[in-house]
Amino acid sequence: MSLFPIPQRVRHLVEFNAGKCIRDGDQLKPDLRKGVIFMDQGDDQLLHFYWKERVGNTTEEDLIIFPEEAEMKRVPECTTGRVYRLHFKSSNQRLFFWMQDKDDSKDEERVAKLNRLINDTQSVLEEQRRNAGADMEEESESAADMLNLLSGGQDLGINQEQFLQFLQTAGGLGGTIPNTSPIGGDGPPNQSVIASAPSSRRGSGQSDSEQQQSAETVPENEGSQLSTNQLHDLRNILSEIRVPQGTDRTNSLELGNVLTPEAIRSILSDQDIASALFPHLPETSDNTNEELQEIIHSPQFRQSLHRLSAALQSGQLGPLMTQLGLDPSAGNGVEAFLAAIEEQARRRDDQDRDSMDQD
């Protein structure tokens, strides 16, 4: 019996050692556990992105990625230069990873391969079949080299011995599973990723004969009736695309959060408010309270709130703000917009009061 169990080597479409990064307030901190990113085509024929924790061999992330839906790019603001961001164009979700292989010369190559896999799955699959048994990277690291690499010339304040100790305990750090919710905003992480714990490989006796080409069989769904339920649900086509993991979560306030249906319903019962809003309804509408309620609760109105919120977040609506009698800076996000409206109302209030005093 071997003291160093040699794991079964299954060939993935792309695979490399990497750790996750956790968001801590505004900053990005590394999850110190040793991990691996790999991608495979699932039984559902779709491309899956996985992150596995290497010591316990547990897969913690499993995301489906559609062609051109996501892209992995280096984060230049990180001074060690080995932090990468996986960005989902569809949901704006961002996941951050740091490279754990000692040799950084292959970082770009691996990421390029990953991106190519995302955009052109078929050609990579073919290549895979052709290159059966291609070389496997050796990943032996030495603590000293790694320390040098990671410190980037800075004094980390720990010596090599301490670092080694740290490595040995690093694998044992269980702890809570970090939250992979998206990082709000596009700002660079404020903290450079130091003290990234590299993996010290034990039992690196992995011979080529261990490699196996994973056969991607396509299981036929025998006897599966195609459910007509799959054709239902028309109204929700656009809004309800459920990618199994990685839900979209905006951190910023939206107009729809403030103007909730319940809040609006009670507000519109005030006849003065309702009547004041009639002129702004579509021309073909009846100017009645029922019509107003219906329109404000319509999906089209809710969607326009959503779009306006997004447009405000982009900060480009200065000219529109001027049109509304607000300062252009009101276009710097939903909160700025709302604050400007508050301010405008306050000023009007003061003006009214002043003019009353003069009587």
Binding site: P67, L226, Q230, L231, I241, L259, H306
Partner: protein, 326 residues
């Protein structure tokens, strides 16, 4: 403000598509959603000019062409390559309209069709993306504020841009699959007026079977003759038959009358639905910014805005705390 080349994202809704088609000058056509692939559901919608299958795109996967497919399809099949992503719905619709000689295209589209007749697929696609008429009608169903229109913020729309449209249309005795992202039309084999929908269904089901493990939404739409017209014709026909009956044919009379009342019911239903579509389209095209701004302003003046903002922030904080704990 010119939005040259700027195509907005529009909603995949039969009401939108129906008005889009008439907006381009085509008469007597509507789009109807199909909920079931069985023949009896489709029968009710006939005559059907083409089917549009809408799904989440996963790489270019053309169906396998039928062994007898010919390569000269481009001569008699209108096929345009898709140049602009946001235009895919309109393009799928056009590929059905242009391939049906029964359809009255109206002056503008007829001119467009003859103008582009000899163009190769990519040039046809380019012509579509440059057409002021087509783009104009298309964009009228999207964001209605000029300031927001200028910002092509695709990320704000979430997942909509990942949907893909493929058309199935019978042309000259063969069923074709028209996918703007493929290199050409795919001949799926011979068919006739009666059986082409069944053939198309099989191909569509094949595609859906591949995705049946994951939660992907599909939709199917049929481009049909305007149902109001069809129902009106049927009503007229039965009225005529009724008048031609003698007094003695009481049983026959009753039968015709019951048919007529069924048709009248469907007619009313259809009218109601069209009114609803029209209303929804008006709302889609309406600029809601004045309404939104004034609502917020009125709230602020009555000191009711800040409480709402505070409540919204508190709720968000609660939600993020909850998910951070997971």
């Amino acid at each position: 403000m010119s939005d040259a080349g700027n195509w907005c994202l529009i909603e995949s809704d039969p009401g939108v598509f129906t008005e889009l088609i008439s907006g381009m000058g085509v008469s007597g056509i509507q789009v109807e959603e199909v909920f079931s692939l069985d023949e009896s559901s489709l029968d009710k919608l006939k005559p059907i000019y083409g089917l549009i299958f809408l799904f989440k795109w996963q790489g270019a996967q053309s169906s396998m062409p039928h062994p007898d497919s010919q390569d000269d399809a481009n001569d008699h099949v209108f096929f345009a390559k898709q140049i602009i992503n946001n235009a895919c719905a309109t393009q799928a619709i056009l590929s059905i309209l242009m391939n049906n000689s029964d359809i009255e295209l109206g002056e503008d589209l007829s001119n467009f069709k003859s103008f582009t007749a000899d163009f190769p697929p990519d040039l046809k696609g380019l012509a579509i993306s440059n057409s002021d008429l087509i783009r104009g009608v298309h964009n009228s169903f999207s964001r209605s504020d000029p300031f927001i229109n200028e910002m092509q913020d695709s990320s704000a729309q979430g997942d909509e841009d990942l949907f893909h449209f493929i058309s199935y249309v019978p042309v000259h005795g063969a069923l074709y699959e028209l996918d703007g992202l493929s290199s050409g039309p795919v001949n799926l084999g011979p068919c006739n007026e009666e059986n082409w929908t069944e053939k198309a269904n099989q191909v569509i089901m094949e595609r859906m079977r591949k995705y049946s493990e994951s939660e992907i939404h599909f939709s199917l739409m049929a481009v049909t003759k305007d149902r109001i017209d069809t129902l009106q014709e049927q009503l007229d026909e039965f009225s005529g038959l009724l008048m031609s009956l003698g007094d003695a044919d009481q049983e026959q009379r009753r039968e015709f009358e019951s048919q007529i009342s069924v048709l009248q019911y469907e007619y009313e239903q259809e009218k109601t639905k069209r009114a609803r579509w029209k209303r929804e389209n008006r709302l889609r095209q309406h600029n809601f910014i004045p309404l939104t701004y004034n609502l917020l302003r009125l709230l602020a003046e009555r000191k009711k805005l800040q409480p709402l903002i505070d409540a919204a922030k508190a709720k968000k904080r609660l939600e993020s705390e909850r998910s951070d704990k997971k």
